[in-house]
Every structure is written in C-alpha cells, then in structure tokens.
C-alpha cells in the first residue's frame, strides 16, 4: 500500500458487484449477488484509507479488525485476511452477506462522508468464500491446530442459530468441548429456516457449521430445549456453563378479522416451508405451500423483503408489501429493499391492515387496508403513522404473509421457572456478559433482545463466550 495519505475525494466509486439480472433471478433460487473476483476485491480494498483510528471497527458488533484484513487483502494475502476476521467472527461468509453494513461498519466509514464507503461486507464475503474454497481451510480449522485441549470443560448451547454458533466457535477455539442442542433437524437457526437461499445459500451455512465441527463442536439436532432436555438436565449432566440462544420465537399476527383464514401465513411459516422444507422443489420434497398469484406481505423489515421475494420466485404474478409508514422508514437493509423493487415488488406505503376477507370458498380473497399519513415521531424515533379517516382500500390477494415480528417462545421459559425475564417477557441477561439470574447460565440473541440482526446475536454470543472462557479457563 502507498504510504502517502490519500484524501477521500481522490478515491473512485465502489467497484460494482456482479449480480443476476432481475428478470432472470426471479425465476430461480440461486444467489442474487455473485461476489467479487480477486482483482475486483483487491481494487475495492485499495479504496480503504487505512485510517489511524478506524471507526468501521467500532461500528461492528463483533469488532472485526477491518483495517488489518483489508490491508492483507490489498497484498493479496487472502489466508492472512481470513485469519484476522476469524479471530472475532466465526461466520464471515454469512455476515458478509446478511449484515446491515450501511448502519454498522460501512455506516461509520470516513470515506462515506464524501464518497461511497468501502464495501466492507462484500470484501468480508470475498475473503470468506475464497478462503473456504482453498486448501488453506485445513490449516486454521483443522483439528490438528485446534484440538480439544480441555475435554474436562463442557459447555452446552441451546439452539444452533447465529448466537450459539458464535459461542461454540469462540469456546471451541479455546479448547473447550461445546455441544449444541438444536430443536429443528438442521443447525443454523434463522440462517436455515428464515433467510432464503437466494440471499444466503444453505451450502454457505453448511460450510460454516462444518468448520465448527472441525473444531470439535458436537451438534445434536431434534433436541428441543425445555422439552427433550431442560436446563436442569444439562446441569445434572455436569455442563460447566450453559448458553441459551433459542431465538425470537412465536410469530405475531395482526389481531384483525380474518387472521386465521386459510391463505394467511406468518412469514416464519412461509419461509420455513420454502427454505427448511424446500417447498420450492415440491413435490420432489414433501413440504407443500400455496401456489398464489396475488400476494401481499405485511411488514417492512428484512423478513418482509425475504417473504415477498420468495413469493415472486414461487411464481406469484403480483407481490406487494403493505407498510404503515413510508419506504424511507422501512427497517429492512437498503440492498434488500432495492433488490425487491428491482424484482417488481410493489411497495404499498402508508397502508395499515384492517381486515383479511374471505371469498365464497372461505379462503382469503381480499385485504382491507387503511390509508395513513405520517405524524409526529414516536418512541422509536420514527414518525408514527396516523389514519386518514374514511380512506380505505381493498386489495385482492390469494395469499397474505404477515411479517410484523415475534414474541418470546414460551417452551424453554416455561420449563425453567427460575429464569428471570424482563418486562417484555424475554430473558433478563446482563448486556455485557450475557449472564442470567441462574448461575453459569448465559443467554444472548433474539431471546434477550427480541428480533434483531444476525450480527447483533453474534455480538451477544461473543460477549457471553468471552465471559464463559474467563470463568472456566
């Protein structure tokens, strides 16, 4: 890298990342974005100013040493760059794809003040992908380097989503025996059942999970925390610490007439059928879902985008997103929103759901929405939607997908009465250490914060893992 300091204004625009054309990709489930080549990645990496005090790292919930990995990439040292990332992030191929970079690392990038920020997420993805495809994998994740040194220390994680996978990666690399107990038949949590193949291929998740297995992490699927195994059982079996990362849980519905009509799905059900159950390949896979022509998706987050784009790929002619505020207030990642619009998904902003209406068949036929306008900002800082009296609209739809968030899943909580909950019904855990009201029982991710991002769950997992390691080692 050149030594003379460069100014943001001297630096060119971002290197564009190749992606499938919109009209083509809506007919398949292959990944939308295709990733950088080495040359493209190096060129993008060269845009980095190598700031003395890098703000990007502060913006990252797991504090990846971004500056260093980018410097190594500039030198084409992909393995070296991967090693830097893996020090704090056990799922780089995932994070490079699904993190809301614009509000985290890239949002803090100095270059972004006057120019486009460095495409940190895309570089992270490139490094993870390139590294995983090369033989160098064995060198870092191979058991010869990270053999279990402390078989006597055992940690159990309940749930095998991003938070637990992070805990497992961190502790296993320290030589602690980690066992993950997963309720579903595949590990990965939301990465498997929620985020669609076209945004995060399952093979990528599989590779990350396999890297953990190489570290000696044991994964037991079909074990439901609170049912097949309880916290008490794990304590009785001698686990030195337990981490709870069971995710956000029960889907919310709208509490409007017609909520339970045939044709109204939760986003969780719709995405689980299509992703985990591979309903997109029905009847080769046995899990069915509807073939719908007119789909409405209610919500404005990433899950709503995923559901809408999935419906399009499942053959729906018309898909619209119903959202109470405007497009600007949508919490979804910008990239996903843009991709959705490119794919022809209509945004019906300023519409509040009033009712799902059945047709003669008894199935969903239309949805009534209330027209809204924006009023004063509410507690969340967003301008709150206000009804425009008397203005409603009836939208024809044969399927509706509700993506308005979740509530805590009661299964583990009911089975663990000693576990203290916060006023929202989630597990009360120390934000710095993840410690709960029970000794040596930690929690993190959506079951503590409510539905959030993959990376924030990983951040919580990392903090808990650090605390667990500190106590055990």
């Amino acid at each position: 890298m050149e030594n003379k300091p460069r100014k943001p204004a001297d630096i060119g625009p971002r290197i564009p990342m190749p992606e499938q054309p919109a009209d083509e990709r809506v007919r398949n489930f292959s990944e939308v974005t295709l990733g950088f080549t080495l040359d493209q990645a190096v060129e993008e990496a060269e845009r980095c100013l190598q700031c003395k005090k890098p703000l990007c790292q502060k913006g990252c919930p797991v504090e990846i040493d971004i500056k260093s990995f980018i410097a190594k990439l500039v030198d084409k040292d992909v393995s070296g760059a991967y090693e830097v990332i893996r020090k704090t992030n056990s799922l780089p191929a995932v994070c490079g794809r699904v993190c809301p970079q614009e509000s985290q690392c890239e949002g803090m990038c100095i270059l972004g003040k006057k120019n486009e920020p460095v495409a940190i997420g895309r570089l992270e993805r490139y490094i993870a992908d390139a590294f995983m495809a090369s033989d160098a994998c064995e060198e870092i994740t191979g058991t010869h380097e990270c053999a279990l040194v402390r078989e006597d220390l055992q940690v159990a994680c309940i749930g095998a989503g991003p938070a637990s996978l992070t805990v497992a990666g961190y502790l296993a690399s320290k030589g602690i025996k980690v066992t993950l107990f997963e309720g579903l038949h595949e590990p990965g949590g939301v990465l498997i059942y929620g985020i669609p193949e076209f945004r995060l291929p399952k093979s990528i998740v599989g590779r990350e999970v396999n890297a953990l297995k190489d570290l000696g992490v044991e994964i037991r699927t079909n074990w439901v925390g609170g049912k097949t195994i309880t916290i008490q059982d794990l304590q009785d079996e001698g686990y030195d610490a337990i981490f709870i990362g069971v995710g956000a849980g029960l889907p919310r519905f709208l509490n409007i007439p017609g909520d339970n009509l045939v044709g109204v799905f939760s986003a969780n059900e719709y995405l689980t059928r299509v992703n985990l159950g591979r309903a997109y390949d029905f009847p080769n896979y046995d899990t069915p879902t509807f073939k719908a022509n007119d789909v409405v998706v209610i919500g404005g987050g990433n899950v709503a985008m995923d559901a809408a784009r999935t419906a399009k790929r499942m053959g729906a002619e018309r898909v619209s997103i119903v959202y109470r505020r405007t497009q600007d207030e949508m919490p979804a990642r910008l990239e996903e929103l843009h991709h959705a619009i490119e794919e022809g998904i209509e945004i019906r902003a300023l519409c509040g759901p009033l009712a799902f209406n059945p047709g003669e068949s008894g199935r969903l036929e239309t949805m009534t929405v209330q027209k809204m306008c924006l009023g004063e900002p509410d507690d969340s800082g967003r301008r709150s939607p206000v009804c425009i009296e008397g203005e409603t609209e009836e939208i024809p739809c044969d399927m509706a997908v509700v993506a308005v968030g979740t509530r805590p899943n009661p299964i583990l909580l009911e089975a663990t009465p000693d576990l203290e909950l916060n006023k929202w019904g989630y597990i009360a855990a120390d934000p710095e250490t993840g410690e709960t009201s029970m000794e040596n029982v930690f929690a993190g991710g959506d079951i503590v914060t409510g539905a959030a991002t993959v990376i924030s769950a990983m951040g919580a997992g990392r903090r808990a893992a650090q605390e667990i390691a500190k106590r055990l080692l």
Binding site: L250, N260, L261, I411
Partner: protein
C-alpha cells in the same frame, strides 16, 4: 443416524400401523398428551404424531398412524429395523391429569391410540376411567385389549353394529352422562367431527370437556403458527398452548377449514407417489 423402528404391527393392514421406536431421551420425558414431529427422510416433510405410549426402561415410544397421504403411506412402508431420520419431542403440553373422580375417555379411529395413553395416565392418577371407543366396524377398534387391561368399563360403538352400540359414540356418551352425574371430565380424541359432536353432547351437562387438536404443523415448537386455532375467541398455537383445549371453546369450523388447506398439494404429492412407487404391489 436416525431412530430405529424396533417393532411394527399392522393394526389394520394398509391403513393403520403401530411402531415402537428406539428414542430413549424422548421416552424419558414423554407424558400423555405429548406428540412428536417426525421426518422420514431427507426429502420428507415434518409431520406431527401423537405419542401413544412410552416405555422409559426400554427407552422406546409408540406411535400409531393412519395412512392419509403420501408421507404416512411412505411411513407405512418402513419395516422393523428401518430408521426414521428425525423424531423430535416430546412436544406440546402434557395432559392435565389429577385425581378427580370419573373420567370418560372417548376415542375414535386412530385417535383411540392417543386416547389410550391419556386414559392410562388418568388411571395411574387414581381416577375411575371409562373408555368409550368407536369405529366403522369391529376390527377397526384399536387398543381394545389394552384398554380392557385397566379400564373398569370399556364401551364400544360401531357404525355397522358389528359390536357394541350400533351408531355413534356420542349416543353412548349422552346415555352415560344422563345415568351418571359424577363424571368430572370427558376427554375426546379422534376425527374433528367426532370431537365437535362430543363437545356438543357434553355442553348441556356442564362437564369439563378436553379435545386434542390435530392441526397442521410445520416445526411444532411454536415458531411458525401454522397450527393456530381459535379457542374462546383467542388465537392459540396447538403446538405450544395445546394440543389439548376446552372443547366447548374451540372454533371447530375454522379448524376444519385449516386442516384442508393443502388438500390440492397433498393430492398432487400422493399421485406422484403412487405413480413412482414400485416397491410393493399393494
């Protein structure tokens, strides 16, 4: 690695079978009213099946299933020694069982298997258990011997009158309730129209009535809401709030509509299966 089928019994050939499955961890926890979610193979869907019995010492659970679609038809092709890829459980809330007096357990069709486990639980709790079972004809009456083993009264109704009362279980139930005012609870498990009819019969008697809802489920652990049902005007998830609910409060017509949601897809799947399946000439 899957879950081994240790024993298979074709209760009604080609239609209803019983499997004893090696699942020590589930057996350790299973209570009457619980269910499991199974997946036959990599391409399989997740299907809920009630636990009909368990043997904690042997580490086994028993399931009984009716062949209704592709997945259950495929399940019925498995033999002793074969593996089921995934068995997850025990799920759902266990039946609320306490010593209370006389409990009538009504079972219809394949539901008799699940009812048997609950009846046994009530009997173990010291209740006077009356079993009332119904089916189209005599040889479809499952678990009669087992129920006779502990129930002081086993009443039977068949559509064709081949044994017991000719007609519906509801007629026998009504008669029993009229003769005996000491019944503290009626538990009904079977086809939805049967459970609905039972709830209608018991309502005027003011007897607590528990039904077990066989909603469509995907994950079975509260994540998807596919199994939601209206109970007393409130939306409940059968997988975590149930599967047992107050029969007088369940919206049965909504339940029926939701059960038929995927009829078209199920037929498509079954059609493909029948065309491709050459494994046995039945």
């Amino acid at each position: 690695m899957g879950f081994k089928i240790l024993k298979k019994e074709e209760l009604i050939p080609g239609q209803t079978s019983l499997f004893v499955i090696d699942a020590p961890q589930i057996a350790k926890k299973a209570m009457p009213g619980n269910f499991v979610i199974i997946r036959i193979d990599e391409n399989g869907e997740r299907i809920p099946l009630t636990i009909a019995d368990k043997d904690r010492e042997a580490g086994t659970i028993t399931i009984v299933f009716l062949v209704v679609g592709k997945s259950t038809a495929q399940l019925n092709m498995l033999q002793e020694g074969d593996d089921i890829l995934d068995v997850c459980g025990p799920l759902g809330k266990a039946t609320h069982i306490e010593k209370q007096g006389t409990v009538i357990c009504v079972g219809g069709g394949t539901g008799i298997a699940a009812m048997h486990h609950i009846a046994k639980g009530h009997w173990e709790a010291g209740n006077h258990v009356v079993a009332l079972i119904g089916a189209r004809t005599e040889n479809l009456l499952l678990f009669r011997c087992e129920l006779n083993g502990f129930c002081p009264e086993v009443m039977v109704a068949t559509d064709d009158g081949s044994v017991g009362h000719k007609g519906f279980v509801t007629e026998v139930l009504k008669d029993r309730l009229e003769r005996d005012s000491n019944v503290t609870e009626v538990v009904a498990i079977g086809p939805v129209p049967m459970m609905e009819a039972v709830a209608k019969v018991t309502e005027p008697f003011g007897v607590k009535t528990t039904v077990s809802l066989n909603s469509i489920m995907v994950d079975g652990i509260g994540m998807c809401g596919a199994c939601r049902c209206s109970v007393g005007g409130k939306t409940k998830f059968a997988c975590v709030d149930g599967p047992e609910f107050d029969g007088h409060k369940v919206d049965f017509s909504e339940l029926k509509a939701r059960l038929w949601q995927f009829k078209e897809q199920e037929d498509e799947s079954m059609g493909k299966f029948k065309k491709e399946c050459t494994c046995h000439g039945k």
